[in-house]
Symmetry: C2
Subunit: 296 residues, 2 copies
């Protein structure tokens, strides 16, 4: 199967399973349920599930376990987008070309939908089907996901982002911000899926995690570049919205040429990390190329 077909298959399976999960919720709060579904299924690229499945496939992790981990990650990712889009945060009316949750519903419902999606993520790790990896496995998965998404990860990064918007920061601070805000969750995908592998060596596991860190940073640099050079119709939001909001970005701090050089450097570093791994990583190479070359 070629990479694009595999990627579509993973996206479709993830969507189906997330939809199944939401449709199983009871009917006592229809509005909230609809908002959670809207947030989960607004049509993302499912980059995190794709990464999780590709690493999981390399390590022969059963499909069901890949799905359980992917769904938990996507619930965290979806909740973070809903809250980031709120008027008090980034105040975005469009996400992937569609109305954001507080526009499609209302602000209170969007806050609650985000809250309930975060809870759902931990519910999934505690309750959804998973092979028997030893009884403490689920708690370790909860520990990894909580660390990556809370103060020590995503929430902390978002706080730094809010505090430094409109301020001049250095490249080290910008890098740390992104390692927390987007990198931690990508790293968590790989930390979780490698944790359930019985056979992987500790050094190979660290190398996979290092790969995820580099790809996460490359993803963000390309995101910043697209905000300047991308087509609004492709990126699903107005061009230049980072600059308009006074966001610190790699092109703003380094200049566009140096930002593109940095992206190329990260691209090579990610590929080198893959090359040292004793697994078939062809699809992960294609994934890396896509993260760096994507136009949306």
């Amino acid at each position: 199967m070629n990479f694009d077909a595999l990627r579509q298959q993973i996206k479709q399976q993830t969507d189906e399973h997330l939809l199944g999960l939401i449709s199983q919720l009871p009917d006592h709060a229809e509005h909230l349920k609809a908002a959670m579904q809207h947030a989960l299924l607004v049509g993302g690229k499912r980059m995190r599930p794709v990464l999780t499945h590709l690493v999981g496939n390399s390590l022969d992790i059963p499909r069901q376990d890949q799905l359980t981990i992917s769904m938990a990650i996507e619930c965290i990712h979806a909740y973070s987008l809903v809250h980031d889009d709120l008027p008090a945060m980034d105040d975005d009316a469009l996400r992937r070309g569609q109305p954001t949750c507080h526009i499609a519903f209302d602000e209170a419902t969007a806050i609650l939908a985000g809250d309930a999606l975060q809870t759902l993520a931990f519910s999934i790790l505690a309750d959804q089907p998973m092979s028997d990896y030893g009884a403490s496995c689920r708690a370790q998965l909860v520990s990894i996901l909580a660390r990556a998404s809370g103060f020590n990860g995503m929430c902390g990064g978002q706080a730094i982002d809010l505090q430094t918007t409109g301020e001049a920061i250095d490249i080290a601070t910008l890098t740390r911000l992104h390692r927390l805000k987007t990198g931690a969750l990508l790293s968590a995908c790989v930390q979780m899926i490698t944790m359930v592998s019985a056979n992987i060596s500790d050094s190979d596991r660290q190398q996979f995690i290092h790969f995820a860190d580099i790809v996460g940073l490359a993803f963000q640099v390309q995101d910043d570049i697209l905000d300047v050079e991308g087509e609004a119709s492709q990126i699903g939001k107005p061009q230049g919205s980072d600059a308009a909001q006074g966001k610190n970005t790699f092109p703003a701090l380094l200049g566009m040429d140096a930002a593109k050089q940095e992206l190329a450097r990260l691209h090579q570093e990610a590929l080198q990390a893959l090359a040292t791994l004793p697994y078939n990583t062809d699809y992960l190479t294609a994934f890396t190329d896509l993260m760096v070359n994507r136009n949306h």
Copy 2:
């Protein structure tokens, strides 16, 4: 030790441990950290930890395990108050006589602080010290807490509350709303602490949980009564704020006399539930009396 002294001791220990937990967080987002601390330590009654410890003491659960469960519960409770107070939700500037989180800080920080406190709750259950109750225990605690706080519990109840504010609803709907919004988390305290007891029978466990359900409802009826008859200086918010917001309450639906009769009925039912348990429940009787007779 008399009940008031024990209650103060539990409150003080819970506060100290929560403060210790926050102070251990790294310094990368000071503003967010301060907001999380403000939200956790704004001076609540720590009713949920008190309930957890009292049931835990009856069952000889070690103090450390009581604390781990209590801290997780309080993080969920604190996050819910921060988000409920937001302008898009109840728009409250005061909580327990002190500025709410979005007033003391700002709205974006309050949203994030709530988010990070929810994550912290699950982190605590995964990582904080706990006796060895079998390796799947922590995942089961996560499962209970997630069910009680997400769509199937607290978030679902808050959604029903928002949707029905200003609308006429019946007493069954109001009861269901409160069972989800506040009852589920009180029940979770008892579900979690009885789950780690090796010796309790299934029927005694169910009886403890039934007791928590009744006390939770009684607590809410008294809350509604206090909103009409309480002193603003005691209840920490203006008298009549429920009515001003068009909230459905027990006195509004039943009339004040019938609401007080319902409270007395629930009081007796809770005491009867305790009386059938083969444990020393004297402190739980005092706790029940306090919930029903409190003036704030």
